[in-house]
């Protein structure tokens, strides 16, 4: 009885804590090749009743009102730059759940009874978010919007999704920059003035090799009628330590003097006077204030004091130095430790000295992702082409089943009958690799192609998925100002299904175990000559007039022998003129 009481009490307190709490955490993880993954995570909750009444505390009011207005049940917004180098960095942070394709990606579950209503709310949502985040989200029109069928599943707890619709839009051409970071920071309770958010600086963030800003809003329910809305803001970035350490006052990279040049000593020709330069120096020491350009300005006073603001994932054998008085807590997993700054208002810094033995950097090995994916164009010329996706399963025993989703712009006309999947090294396509296809063809100027393929890759093998497409020529007003740069094609989204769960369920209903996105592509279309609309109109009209004139001239006029009929007009005129002249000369 007593135990029950305590557990009830505990439930009450924890639910209270969950109902209105805020915490933030920075996770640092050194990666091979002198890269550093920094994951910022900010999370705040609001109870549904408070949200409905408009009592916003940690949840940003500006975003909350937009969500209320567009009756959004769940929202995911991503701003991404760069490429995650899976070959050297391994598995993605958060299993890929907090990243988007290059540019901006947005998907949301909207409450709507019909397609029209959903489209209307989606338009409202994209326009409002466009203003809030200073991004061109309002350019997500019907040609860039899809309704994914298999790829995305809600993360939150929804009593019923019967009356909601999932819409997804991407802007691969959008360049993510400082103007998107500022509104992102403004949503935080401490606004980037204190806590880990004070480390975020546009110069460093957008100089990263890869970065992804994510906003996720979802309802979480402990019980029926006990729900909170959670907003999670995440920034993941992979910093090149060499580049980040470049001093702010001297940011231009200059070749170092010959004696300071880092050389690859493993080359056979390495000598005192020959040097093969290394592109990155291994195992450098770094400090927070060095790589982010400033130290952390205390902790956010609103954050949950139980949650450590800074954690680092590195074997316990390596020393890490923090500001004086900071409490270090080594986690029992032996690979991560967290720090609690002593004084919430004092600056906090953290530094990692270079390892004692340079040959053994003592960092965590990169985790192997479930799948490697690479997508590229095949063929040449501006008339047609093909897309080839190379999907490699590194696991020696386990098959990977996933959903491959492409959203292509309408001016790439894909030929689905040419789609085939084959195991690399085998000449014939294998029909059993593709299990299910959902295809919605593009309609010119109205809708993009949506292709979702549920397929599998056998253990330790590589599968090539290929199909052909044709490039169409557009009206000259439909080309952007830099038409010959090409058109961005959004990233393909690969959702790997969790093989361990939902065995009896139909496969596509299984939750996602890992998500990854390919890079976006640049497709060059044939271009007309933009300088000559008038000339073309004139030339074509002339050709038509020649034919029309020639034919109707013969149709309406009568044929006579050359010496018959009235004199031609010019001859008469010349005759008259001669007569006149003759008369004039005769009079003289």
């Amino acid at each position: 009885m007593r135990q029950l009481f305590f557990s009830l009490l505990f439930c009450f307190f924890s639910s209270f804590a969950a109902a209105a709490d805020y915490h933030e955490q920075l996770n640092l993880r050194p990666l091979p090749q002198s890269a550093l993954l920094a994951s910022f995570n900010f999370r705040s909750n609001i109870s549904v009743s408070d949200f409905d009444k408009g009592n916003f505390r940690f949840f940003p009011r500006s975003l909350g009102q937009i969500l209320q207005h567009a009756s959004t049940r769940e929202l995911h917004l991503r701003f991404t730059l760069g490429r995650w180098d899976a070959e050297s960095w391994g598995a993605r942070p958060w299993n890929g759940a907090r990243e988007g394709g290059t540019g901006v990606e947005l998907w949301a579950w909207l409450e709507a009874a019909s397609h029209q209503e959903a489209d209307h709310k989606w338009l409202m949502l994209t326009n409002a978010l466009s203003g809030l985040f200073c991004a061109s989200l309002n350019f997500i029109d019907s040609t860039r919007t899809t309704r994914p069928v298999m790829s995305f599943r809600p993360e939150g707890d929804h009593p019923s999704l019967a009356n909601t619709q999932l819409l997804h839009g991407t802007l691969p051409h959008e360049v993510v920059c400082t103007e998107n970071l500022t509104p992102f920071l403004k949503l935080l309770p401490c606004k980037g003035k204190a806590g880990i958010a004070s480390l975020l600086d546009g110069h460093k963030l957008f100089d990263a090799s890869w970065q992804s800003m994510a906003i996720d809003m979802r309802p979480l329910c402990r019980r029926r009628n006990d729900c909170v809305l959670q907003i999670e803001q995440t920034i993941d970035m992979v910093l090149d330590i060499d580049r980040s350490k470049r001093p702010r006052h001297n940011p231009i990279p200059r070749p170092p003097p010959a004696d300071q040049l880092p050389c690859d000593t493993s080359k056979p020709y390495h000598a005192r006077d020959t040097c093969f330069p290394l592109d990155h120096t291994k195992n450098q020491d770094w400090a927070l204030s060095q790589i982010f350009g400033r130290p952390m300005k205390g902790t956010c006073p609103l954050t949950d004091p139980q949650v450590s603001p800074v954690c680092i994932q590195i074997p316990h054998s390596r020393p890490v130095y923090a500001s004086e008085g900071a409490r270090e807590k080594k986690n029992p997993d032996r690979i991560s430790r967290c720090f609690f700054p002593p004084d919430p208002s004092a600056d906090f810094d953290l530094s990692l000295p270079a390892p004692a033995d340079p040959s053994d950097p003592e960092i965590l090995g990169p985790g192997t992702p479930l799948l490697y994916a690479e997508r590229s164009f095949t063929g040449y010329g501006q008339e047609r082409g093909g897309i080839q996706t190379i999907l490699r399963n590194p696991s020696p025993h386990k098959e990977v089943e996933f959903i491959y989703m492409e959203t292509l712009p309408w001016f790439m006309r894909i030929y689905l009958h040419t789609m085939e999947a084959r195991v690399a090294g085998q000449p014939a396509p294998d029909k059993s690799l593709v299990r299910e296809v959902y295809y919605r063809p593009a309609v010119d100027r109205a809708r993009g192609t949506q292709l979702e393929v549920r397929m599998r890759v056998p253990p330790a093998s590589t599968v090539l998925l290929t199909y052909d497409f044709e490039k169409s020529i557009l009206r000259y007003t439909e080309y952007p100002p830099d038409a010959n740069r090409g058109f961005d094609v959004p990233a393909a989204v690969i959702t790997i299904l969790d093989a361990s769960q939902g065995g009896k369920e139909p496969s596509p209903r299984r939750p996602a175990a890992y998500t990854l996105r390919t890079t976006s592509l640049l497709c060059s279309l044939p271009t007309p000559d933009f300088s000559m609309p008038y000339n073309v109109i004139i030339f074509t009209s002339t050709a038509i007039a020649l034919a029309f004139g020639g034919i109707f001239n013969m149709l309406v006029r009568r044929m006579v022998a050359a010496d018959e009929g009235p004199e031609p007009g010019l001859k008469v005129l010349v005759g008259k003129l001669k007569k006149r002249l003759g008369a004039l000369t005769g009079r003289r």
Binding site: Y415, Y476, P533, F539, A543, A562
Partner: protein, 427 residues
């Protein structure tokens, strides 16, 4: 009737066999050539491309509406027809045979038209020069071994169906089967819209050639009304059948709407695509209307002026369509060129044969080269190919005008025999 060398059945069979063997040999031994031709803009337009047909077929067989997309713009009844055949990817021979047989049937139709002698002496007009003509054998051979026809067949362009339907309609009209002619014309119009403009001259041709003892009405207007009703009825039946096959009326905007509004601007040898690429948006609808009006303006003029020779009107209209329709291809040119040798007797009256032949040859060779420069090499721009399409159009319109001049002069010489061999002028 002049003596035309009698062709033995063996010779005819030999011609057909040679044409079929040539096509099948290329299909079997040079599949790369037929794939190359199928990918050429001169052969495959958005409304006749075989690759698009395959895509439509694929979607149709997988229960996705092929018209709910921007790729397939061809007639719905082609889908069940081709899905009856074995899959092209697995076994291409039946599909290839369909195209070969279509070409042979078209050649047979031309043979019938030539043998009828309609080109030289129609019901209202008999040319004094009609003795000088080529036999059906020669015309069929012209058609079957015309490189344009060969390329169309090898590229598996679905315009082969339209070509056959048009030729079959003319052959039926010439041989006194008005109903068969109208049904065939309805099929042609169903497949590619613009042949519907051939209705007035075809009705006149069928009226002139109707059998005296036939059941057709005697008076002209009644005959025309019956013919128009037959075309409308067959078209309606075809649309209804298409509706039953595809389950919706979506095919109408996707098949005919694309031809009317030119929403797909893929390059082709016609004059429309670049004009509408460069057109200002506010004038697009206006010029679309003007272009269609222009295309249909020839029907009335030609039909009235050359009333005495409706087959000439049909030939000239086919030539004009090959230049000015929204998505022309060399299939349309090959159809026109197949009918031109019917007028062997007026060839001596033509003035610019050398010029038009050289212009057509010039653009036929330079067109692919300039297209390559634009799309693949990148050393030319769109104007290169556009200029060639202009020249191509001018060359063909020169030929059309020249043929028309020769026919009109031939008519004039019957009225005024003293003018033969003299210079003439138009007033």
């Amino acid at each position: 009737m002049a003596a035309v060398a009698k062709v033995s059945p063996g010779q005819a069979a030999g011609l057909y066999a040679a044409a079929a063997a040539l096509r099948l040999a290329v299909f079997a031994f040079l599949p790369g050539l037929s794939d190359l031709l199928a990918a050429r803009v001169e052969v495959s337009t958005p409304v006749t491309s075989f690759k698009r047909l395959q895509e439509g077929l694929f979607l149709y067989n997988h229960n996705v509406s092929p018209y709910d997309g921007g790729v397939y713009h061809q007639a719905p009844l082609l889908l069940p027809l081709f899905s009856l055949l074995p899959s092209f990817a697995a076994l291409p021979l039946p599909t290839d045979l369909v195209y070969v047989v279509l070409d042979l049937l078209s050649a047979r139709a031309i043979w019938r038209i030539a043998d009828s002698g309609e080109a030289g002496s129609s019901a209202l007009f008999t040319s004094p020069r009609r003795a000088k003509r080529w036999s059906g054998f020669v015309l069929a051979a012209f058609f079957l071994f015309n490189p344009f026809t060969l390329a169309t067949c090898l590229g598996r362009s679905t315009s082969a169906f339209t070509t056959y339907a048009v030729l079959h309609a003319i052959a039926n009209a010439v041989s006194g089967a008005p109903l068969g002619a109208m049904v065939a014309l309805a099929f042609a119009g169903y497949l590619s819209l613009s042949p519907l403009l051939l209705l007035p001259p075809l009705v006149l041709l069928a009226y002139d050639r109707r059998r005296p003892a036939g059941p057709a009405p005697r008076s002209g207007p009644a005959f025309a009304a019956v013919c128009a009703a037959a075309v409308a009825g067959v078209l309606g039946a075809l649309f209804l059948l298409s509706y039953l096959v595809t389950g919706s009326w979506e095919f109408l905007p996707s098949t005919y709407g694309v031809q009317l509004t030119l929403s797909d601007l893929s390059p082709n040898i016609g004059l429309w695509w670049y004009f509408f690429v460069e057109m200002f948006d506010s004038f697009r609808s206006f010029f679309l209307a003007v272009f269609w009006l222009h295309l249909s303006s020839y029907v009335a003029g030609l039909t009235l002026r050359i009333r005495r020779q409706p087959l000439v009107v049909l030939t000239l209209l086919l030539g004009i369509h090959g230049i000015f329709k929204p998505y022309p291809s060399i299939a349309d040119t090959s159809l026109f060129l197949a009918l031109v040798p019917l007028y062997r007797h007026v060839f001596p009256l033509m003035r610019y044969t050398f010029l038009s032949a050289s212009v057509i040859l010039y653009s036929a060779f330079l067109g692919p080269a300039f297209y390559y420069l634009w799309i693949y090499a990148g050393s030319g721009n769109a104007n290169f190919f556009y200029a060639i399409t202009l020249v191509w159009g001018l060359g063909q319109s020169l030929l059309v005008c020249d043929l028309m001049f020769a026919v009109l002069r031939d008519e004039l010489e019957v009225e005024r025999p003293e003018i033969v061999g003299k210079e003439i002028r138009q007033i």
